[in-house]
């Protein structure tokens, strides 16, 4: 039997109809995925350093600049040589001016918060130091 023009166009229309149920499923799943994954994946970053002990250091470690982090009257101060720095900007300025080849040793005192230590490491990295050692006293 031959199809008339009207019948064949109806068939064509029927053929190109979108599978709505599957499409809605797909869109909902994608929407669900992006909403959930966007909220749940809290971004964590890292500041990597090399662990070093205060005893038995190598000679290259001894040649590095020492950055002391201390607490003075409840506030965190940074000491490099005879310079005492009280804020991040001045620390960044001093570290940028230092030679970077020998690296830097970060030595926080016991009472300072971890946030101050992380800040010092971050500033050292921003200043261009690639060799950053974390010195643990009394090992």
């Amino acid at each position: 039997m031959r199809l008339t023009t009207r019948e064949s166009s109806r068939v064509e229309l029927h053929r190109i109809r979108l599978p709505l149920i599957a499409m809605i499923d797909v869109i909902l799943f994608l929407l669900f995925y992006f909403v959930i994954s966007g909220n749940m994946a809290a971004e964590e970053r890292a500041l990597s350093t090399t662990l070093g002990a205060s005893q038995g250091q190598s000679s290259s470690l001894l040649q590095s600049q020492m950055l002391l982090i201390e607490s003075q009257n409840g506030a965190v101060v940074y000491r490099i040589g005879d310079r005492t720095l009280t804020d991040r900007a001045s620390l960044a300025a001093v570290l940028s001016a230092l030679p970077h080849e020998a690296g830097i040793i970060v030595r926080p005192s016991a009472e300072v918060p971890v946030a101050a230590t992380a800040e010092a490491v971050q500033v050292a990295k921003d200043a261009g130091f690639t060799r950053i050692s974390y010195l643990v006293a009394g090992v």
């Binding site: 749940m40 971004e43 990597s48 350093t49 662990l51 971890v114 946030a115 800040e119 643990v136």
Partner: protein, 127 residues
Amino acid sequence: MIDVILLLIIFFTFTSQFSSTQRTPMDLPRERGEEAPRAATEMVIDLDADGQVKVLGHEYDLQTLATLLAGREFVVEGAGADESGVAQPIEVVIRAHRDCTTANLNALAQVLLRAGVRKWSLATSAE
């Protein structure tokens, strides 16, 4: 079939997401840090504001942690080997609370040093 494939994709994506969200909520130091590539031989240690050490949600004292690290080194042997067959050192990530005193961090660092850990990372929050 599309439904099944999508469900499988979502399942595997979510399980990988959940493995990272299993980490204990922690007020980390707010620094930009660096992109932290997840190594196969990575160990994440939580250090809360009171100096309590946790690994995968379980509390440990430093003595027990030292034993755990020693055991871990044994397990990693071979699994963390590079192409030349040399075992890679364990990379340790410390998730320390931003207000935790460095005394606690140093005590943990001493344990790590004794266990032979030479490279570690301090986790930071970019927010």
